[in-house]
């Protein structure tokens, strides 16, 4: 029989998490509660004696100084309502797993199969609340019905039943479901229905290609020899659907596109990826010659570049949008621990050194009701924030860079970009660290977590829009500790040379990881019989496709397998032999002695027909000019308070950004450690002054005018940010993450061709700027269906490109922060300001449409960036800050208040073209501009380095704590206290 141990804080100990919930109930739901207390519940479904339970409740599961516990009975206390939230069956219960380990150790009893510990949490609510209010806070704040279950009791019912009744969320199932044979000899209509009903997301063309393959006589003959039916098995079709999914094959980026721009002649683009992304990288690498830093691009889980002679840098950014829309906490947590495995599984395995996260949300202060099936953006924001906090902090990886972007259209799908870098020895066991290859005869090992139904069809699901019935199995809860144990073990295994090849189990699970690795040898024989399951009842295809987290797949030489298993055991990591890699030409899967899938390797990986798509793009002209502002000081304060500009300290503080002791330029800088750093600088080797800058650019607003410039500006912003902090513009590498709205035209999606046209334009912008700057793209990812269709209404995100970048900082001494340092320092503006106000934060603030979208002039900017880097290297620069959202006005205000100093500037002196209005000069978002400050005695040297470039001294840093700006007419237009400006900037998102 199961027993419940309920743990609460003793009187006199502040319940800080309870107080936080109380605060959130008030701020998010507008309901005032007197008091919220939290209790933890352990439901132990194992044959334990009363004495054992008492030991657990008396010491093992509690902290005796601050907690007390009760067994199977009510733990007194005053409250009006109790809400208990537990997990649904099959949802990962990390605390339950840890509790079970402790219980097994303390009692000496090993749990039998099926025995387990389940955790839940009680919220004790006091205050004159109605049941309706309690139910509202339960459904809108305390629990998520997709993964959790909740019980609401009033105090009287609670006393009557002596606590909450025991309930065990155990997965119950019988036997292992059979393998099914599926005939494809059907009408087109039936084939389409089959693909849809089984969540395969295969098009009719693709279904035809599969059917043709199975009709081949040589295939039939082979199948007969292996004792398989002529028709495909469900296992085979699931593997094909997964391998051919948009998520894995990037069908849209590889499609043949018939593209028409304005009234021009249509042209054919065969693969956006090959043409523009890989294409740009090829041109850049060829031009760089010996200075090329790329080691491994586009072929592994992450890109690899040279850091120095002995070390390589690995970098990857992923998105986890759809799961985060359904369960923000679990989705984001899985996003971060999932992307961790990409660099970890790159080359022979990299040690992880930092994370970078960028989120896009609708306003958390949204007042209008949220459509059914979507969560309020405030809840999404808080869940995502916490998921990434737990994923990053518990993994011991510092989160050193990121940003949060707001736009109402992210209501339909939030974007959750998670990135991770790793450090890889340049040479491991006499082989280049970035190379790996499975060898025929190697054993297939799966390592780490167990397999459950979690995440099944995640790869195909993310290739679909969200709808009311989106499956809960798409959501998983990551487990950073299981993963940490696994990575600790695998780094040791790497150093002992115990494996030939490593990759992660992400989208598509074993099907994908083993299928890809089998390309090295030309086949595999995978046996699922011993596959470790979380619970019984999984069909073979489910075992293959499960996206259960914290798992890696390795190719281990047969003679190292014994040591590999022994080492895994020592680290308490599960490692299971699942067959071998071979050169048979077949992806063969068996289960309990029978073959359940036999797929020709060549067809699996090369058989997908290329998609053909239509794209068109039409330039639009909107005009409109806002009135001049009445009060420049108030306007500046309002601009600083805009969601896309204001302080994000609330996030940054809750992310460990200093673990590993390498954060030499932190995300928060300045006199009071709260200024917004342009980028982070990280010193990955404790005994070397060499460092890496990490930055990003993201400008989705500009997509409303032209995605070409949106992409160009994103690349420029990333480069500019990195240059500002001291990175060498000639030693950088980039990474593109496209998040788009559905670009395939159909009846439901009538402007699909335009969205694809926007994608073409964005790729062209990316190509042009990357080639001009000499920035290779080393890896990337796309997420193409960021739409929600709720009750027939489509909400599409603005087309969004995140461009992430790593750059070499030769010596940490020459890394620069953005805060003004000393009164008397000279302030310079670098770069020409033009009338680039279209889709700017300023135009949004005043509600103006039209205007010219910001446009990059690559050669002009590159000359400036190189000169700035020389000035930084020469030690001329005291502070440097880039002008981006909110332009020059926001930039100087931030540098001033972050330095706790004032400044006096004359706008007239700034380099500019065709600008006659102060507000335009202050808030234009022309890319390629920076504001630097320096000691007066460095001015001569600095000006010499900058000669011939659009650079001008515009003023001085002052002791007086005011920002004073003289307008074009020479009159003072702004004279504001930096405290007022800072407060306007700090406040909005101090949640």
């Amino acid at each position: 029989m199961a027993h419940r141990i309920v743990v609460g804080l003793v009187d006199g100990i502040k319940d800080a998490p309870g107080d936080n919930i109380k605060k959130r109930i008030s701020s998010e739901l507008g309901i005032e509660v007197d008091r919220v207390r939290i209790r933890e519940v352990y439901t132990i479904d194992a044959g334990l004696s009363r004495e054992q339970l008492e030991m657990l409740a008396g010491s093992v599961l509690i902290d005796p100084v601050i907690q007390h516990a009760g067994i199977d009975s009510a733990l007194g206390g005053d409250f009006d309502y109790l809400v208990e939230v537990g997990l649904r069956p099959g949802v990962t219960d990390n605390v339950g797993r840890t509790a079970q380990e402790s219980i097994e150790l303390a009692t000496g009893k090993t749990f039998a199969p099926g025995e387990a510990v389940y955790t839940s949490r009680q919220y004790l609510l006091s205050g004159g609340l109605s049941r309706e209010q309690v139910e509202k806070m339960t459904s809108e704040l305390l629990y998520n019905r997709l993964i959790q279950q909740a019980v609401v009791l009033d105090a009287e019912a609670y006393c009557r039943s002596d606590g909450v009744a025991v309930s065990v969320p155990k997965v119950t199932s019988v036997g292992r479901p059979e393998v099914e044979t599926v005939s494809l000899e059907l009408s087109d209509q039936a084939l389409t229905a089959l693909s849809r009903d089984r969540v395969w997301a295969l098009s009719l063309d693709e279904m035809h290609a599969i059917r043709e393959h199975y009709r081949r006589s040589d295939i039939s003959l082979s199948r007969e020899q292996f004792g398989l039916p002529k028709d495909p098995t469900d296992v085979e079709l699931e593997v094909l659907a997964q391998t051919w999914s948009e998520h894995c094959k990037h069908k849209i980026f590889n499609a043949e596109i018939n593209y028409r721009e304005n009234q021009d002649q249509p042209k054919t683009i065969v693969s956006l990826f090959d043409t523009y992304i890989r294409g740009a990288t090829q041109v850049v690498r060829a031009r760089k010659g010996e200075k090329d830093i790329c080691l491994s691009v586009f072929r592994d889980n992450a890109g690899v570049v040279r850091f120095n002679r002995d070390w390589s840098l690995v970098f990857k950014v992923e998105t986890h949008n759809s799961p985060s829309a359904l369960d923000p906490y679990g989705g984001a947590l899985t996003g971060i621990v999932g992307v961790n495995r990409d660099p970890f599984g790159t080359g022979q395995g990299a040690r992880l050194i930092f994370n970078t996260d960028v989120f896009c949300f609708a306003s958390p202060f949204r007042k209008e009701p949220v459509p059914a099936g979507l969560l309020h953006p405030r809840r999404v924001l808080e869940g995502v924030r916490m998921g990434v906090e737990h994923g990053g902090n518990k993994s011991g990886i510092p989160t050193i860079n990121g940003s949060v972007v707001f736009d109402e259209r992210y209501l339909g799908k939030p974007l959750v970009y998670c990135g991770t870098a790793g450090l890889l020895p340049a040479t491991i066991h006499n082989r280049p660290g970035h190379e790996k290859k499975a060898v025929a005869g190697d054993r297939i090992f799966m390592v780490g977590g167990r397999i459950g139904k979690d995440g099944i069809h995640g790869a195909t699901f993310s290739s679909e829009e969200l709808h009311e019935g989106s499956p809960a199995t798409a959501v998983q809860i990551g487990d950073p500790i299981t993963q940490k144990r696994m990575t600790d073990f695998l780094l040791q295994a790497r150093d002992e040379d115990l494996y030939h090849c490593i990759t992660d189990n992400g989208a598509g699970g074993l099907s994908s990881s083993v299928g890809e690795m089998a390309c090295d040898t030309g086949g595999c024989n995978l046996d699922l019989t011993q596959a470790p399951l979380k619970y019984a009842g999984l069909a073979p295809w489910e075992i293959l496709l499960s996206e259960a987290q914290e798992r890696m797949t390795l190719a281990v030489a047969a003679d190292r397998a014994e040591r590999f298993i022994e080492l895994a055991g020592r680290y308490q990591v599960e490692a299971t032999d699942l067959g071998c890699f071979d050169d048979s030409g077949w992806f063969q899967v068996s289960d309990h002695g029978r073959i359940v899938a036999l797929l020709q390797m060549e067809f699996l990986h090369e058989g997908l027909p290329r998609m053909r798509l239509e794209a068109r793009w039409q330039e639009s002209h909107i005009s409109g000019i806002p009135d001049e502002p009445l009060h420049h000081g108030d306007l500046l304060a309002a601009m600083l308070g805009r969601l896309n500009i204001c302080s994000k300290e609330y996030w940054v503080r809750q992310y460990d950004h200093e673990v590993q002791a390498g954060s030499v330029l932190k995300p928060l800088v300045g006199a009071r450690d709260d200024g917004p750093s342009d980028a982070a600088v990280f010193r990955p080797l404790l005994d070397s002054p060499e460092a890496v800058a990490v930055s990003h650019g993201i400008c989705p607003r500009y997509s409303d005018l032209d995605t070409y410039h949106m992409a160009a500006c994103a690349v420029d912003e990333a480069v500019r940010n990195a240059v500002c902090v001291g990175a060498d513009p000639d030693e950088m590498a980039g990474l593109d993450n496209f998040c788009w709205c559905d670009p395939i035209e159909s009846e439901k999606n009538p402007d699909g061709a335009f969205k694809l046209g926007q994608l073409v334009r964005a790729n062209q912008g990316l190509y042009d700027v990357c080639v001009a700057y000499g920035i290779p793209c080393i890896s990337g990812k796309d997420s193409m269906k960021n739409d929600a269709v709720i009750e027939g209404v489509r909400i599409s995100i603005p087309p969004t490109l995140l461009f992430s970048l790593v750059g070499k900082v030769p010596h940490v001494e020459r890394s620069i922060s953005m805060d003004f340092k000393k009164p008397g320092h000279l302030i310079y503006v670098l770069g020409t300001t033009r009338a680039h106000l279209g889709a700017s934060e300023y135009y949004q603030q005043v509600g103006a449409a039209g205007g010219l979208v910001p446009q990059v002039r690559p050669q002009e900017n590159l000359d400036l960036y190189r000169a700035l880097h020389r000035a930084i290297q020469a030690g001329c620069i005291a502070s440097c800050h880039d002008c981006s959202d909110g332009g020059l006005g926001v930039c100087v205000a931030e540098s001033a208040f972050s330095g706790d100093l004032g400044a006096r500037l004359e706008l007239n002196r700034a380099p500019k073209e065709n600008l006659t209005r102060d507000d335009f000069l202050l808030y234009s978002e022309t890319p390629g501009r920076m504001v630097v400050s320096l000691e007066p005695d460095k001015a001569q040297e600095f000006e010499k380095i900058m000669s011939g470039l659009p650079v001008a001294a515009v003023g001085r840093v002052t002791q007086e704590r005011n920002l004073t700006i003289l307008g074009l007419s020479g009159k003072i237009i702004i004279d504001e206290s930096i405290d007022r400006l800072k407060s306007a900037w700090m406040k909005p998102l101090d949640l």
Binding site: P17, D63, E101, Y571
Partner: protein
Amino acid sequence: MSSVRVLVLSGNGTNCERETAFACKSAGADVVDVAPIWDVVAGDKRLGDYQFLCLPGGFMDGDDLGSAKACANRIHYTPIVGTRVKLWDELLAFVDSGKLVLGICNGFQLLVKLGLLPRLDGGFPKQVASLTFNDSGRFENRWVELGCDPKSPCVFTRGIESLPVPVRHGEGKFVVADKEVLSRLESAHLVPVRYIDPDTRKATQSYPANPNGSVDGVAGICDPSGRVFGLMPHPECYLTKYDHPRWRRTPEPSEEGRGLKLFHNAIEWLKAS
């Protein structure tokens, strides 16, 4: 002068072992081994072979039963393979043999939950204090200023007046089982480091200078011998001047980070004894 051997114990979610080991090495330790606790369980590493045990920061077991609690259980109940000796017995023997123990953040939480700190009577360890949720209810990463008690017997803080260091925790609020524990800690000077107000230089209860609401500004405590010391902030994250958030504004006193001083003190003490 004897050779100084340090063991930095890792695993199950510790994450500061590399920089902690680097700090020990930089401070002059002769041998610094980073080993997962499982190597001690397997008998491959023996605590008795070392003079200085570092329990580094991290998120052991994900803080799942409360910070460091699951690891305290592990230490209490896991036998060394092939013996009847528990990890706990080996750890207690190490502590009682006059050697040094430093627990940082998660390692400090572990020492307190095992009752090895403050261990006022020096008898069998019993937990009399704890570290619980920050008053803010949040994990926070921020730099704070520590003031040191010059009268403390603590080996690690000798000669240090004050120290800027980062905190990075969600459960760092020091609480005691009863008032007597606190008064005994104070009278015996077993609180070597307190959060201080950077202006008044006095111990403070006000946020954020005291980042978690710890009673009496307690940032760390030692045992009466001064050999066992734990603290919430991270001195191992201040190895060079570049680690300080404001080195670009205010000149640092030395290239070497001030956090290293704690480790120098430990190594020097061991070399002298």
